[in-house]
């Protein structure tokens, strides 16, 4: 393989965590209405942020998390900085508990994500309530939490598959 191709492959591998977050933002914005209306989109980008922050925190730093959060704000039409702030808080939490979440307990990453997602949706509810000037309905936040935790094992496998390419590249 030529040095240029090797360098490109290496760059692509390093970019996988950020790109997976970007794809998750786009997936969350695609219309899908099988559930006959009552659907709250799971927090797909949070899955990418959490996964890579415990698996490769050196590649999923605060800057990619911030950009992913801002893109989520733009696509969801929420207040700018809303998801960026929440994702950074979730990132800080998951990195600080990384050893616990990646320990020997098989369900550790899933439970870790559940804790992180719970913290993230609670923070989202608090900020949304402050913005609204009173408590907003908590049910959609809870539904989003449950949906995110339900979908996480599937996305964890997809990220792990992408991570194998990462291991070859770096």
């Amino acid at each position: 393989m030529s040095p240029v191709a090797t360098r490109l492959g290496r760059f692509a591998s390093i970019a996988i965590p950020f790109l997976s977050g970007l794809v998750c933002v786009l997936i969350g914005a695609v219309p899908f209405s099988v559930s006959n209306g009552f659907l709250v989109t799971p927090l797909f980008p949070l899955m990418a942020v959490f996964y890579w922050s415990i698996v490769r925190p050196d590649l999923m730093g605060p800057t990619p998390v911030f950009i992913i959060g801002l893109l989520q704000d733009i696509f969801t039409a929420g207040p700018p900085g809303f998801w960026a702030f929440i994702f950074l808080a979730a990132y800080a939490f998951s990195v600080s508990q990384r050893i616990l979440f990646t320990g020997r307990f098989a369900l550790g990453p899933w439970l870790g994500f559940a804790m992180t997602a719970l913290m993230a949706v609670f923070l989202a509810w608090v900020i949304a309530s402050i913005f609204h000037g009173g408590p907003v309905a908590p049910l959609p936040f809870f539904v989003q939490f449950v949906a995110s935790v339900t979908f996480y094992p599937l996305f964890m496998r997809i990220f792990a598959f992408a991570g194998r390419g990462l291991a070859r590249g770096v």
Binding site: A77, G78, A128, P140
Partner: protein, 302 residues
């Protein structure tokens, strides 16, 4: 040691860890700053949003196509189990609608006769743009759609958006080739409505639940479950009379919810209405009468 840390994907040196922490704090402050700035001046970030909507529209369209196909397959499969009941229901509904159609035709003819008798000025017809839903941001905080029509198609901010069943929202951002539609269920949605048959005006307020609330009802007005809600046309943005839904009154008569004809949740194609609200009406001039009182000038100004 460093190799082991690297394999585990951890930080290689205390300096790297420190720079991560500093960046984390700084970016959190920037995000919080954006939140406060956005709250103070919401138009500040609107241009960025429009640009992103326009740029990402082709990507969203490309992603939506296979998902829509999958959605259709799932729906087609689940429909198999309810096809008999659905057929029976549609037969009954069709018979009922035929009766309504006859009644509507009769009423239409009668109204036309009355309008001709009264020499009534008919409001201008609205034109519309049909657009496809390419993005759907249904989070716990914001309920909005992205559609593939923008300024170049004649879409402007504030226009009403309907689907086959009724009003679903309004355009809040219009880019060149895409627009964002805020659904009626969104927390920040407020629409002036009229409750039929009383002609009472009120505000339909979204609260992120499936059933928006009716607010600012005049004192003493009590609604009943099943009362029809339509747009009032107040403010000149929406045409009057677009179907919204029916009232649902709970145990507390003050808590009136609306069961909407369409939440926009399953909308694939929508119509964006360009309502030509009559403007440029000259304000009647005031003149003094013989008694020195101010009255409207009976002669139109030239």
């Amino acid at each position: 040691m460093n190799d082991r840390r690297r394999r585990g994907g951890g930080f290689r040196a205390p300096v790297e860890l420190l720079s991560h922490r500093v960046a984390l704090v700084l970016l959190s402050l920037v995000a919080a700053g954006f939140l406060l700035l956005g709250r103070a001046d919401s138009a500040l970030f609107e241009g960025v949003r429009k640009w992103f909507s326009d740029t990402s529209a082709p990507v969203l369209e490309a992603l939506a196509t296979p998902l829509r196909w999958a959605e259709e397959q799932v729906n087609a499969f689940t429909d198999i189990f309810t096809v008999y009941e659905e057929n029976e229901r549609l037969r009954e509904e069709n018979a009922r609608l035929l009766e309504w159609k006859n009644a509507a035709l009769e009423m239409e003819a009668r109204i036309k006769r009355y309008e001709a008798l009264l020499n009534m000025q008919i409001a201008p017809e609205s034109s519309f743009v049909t657009a496809e839903v390419i993005g759907d941001t249904r989070g716990p905080f914001v309920r909005a759609l992205i559609v593939n029509a923008g300024i170049t198609d004649g879409v402007t901010k504030g226009q009403a958006v309907i689907d086959a069943n009724g009003l679903i929202g309004r355009v809040v951002e219009a880019g060149n080739s895409s627009s964002r539609v805020l659904l009626l269920t969104d927390l920040s949605s407020r629409i002036p409505v009229v409750i039929e048959p009383y002609g009472v005006r009120a505000i339909l307020a979204g609260d992120n639940s499936e059933y928006p609330r009716i607010e600012f009802l005049p004192p003493g007005v009590t609604l009943s479950t099943g009362d029809r809600i339509v747009t009032s046309g107040d403010g000149g943005v929406f045409p009057p009379g677009i179907a919204v839904g029916v009232a649902s009154v709970g145990d507390d008569p003050g808590d009136v919810r609306v069961i909407m004809y369409s939440t926009g949740a399953n909308a694939q194609l929508v119509r964006i209405i360009d309502y030509n609200f009559p403007t440029g009406v000259d304000a009647p001039a005031l003149v003094s009468n013989e008694a020195g009182e101010a009255v409207l000038n009976p002669q139109p100004a030239n």
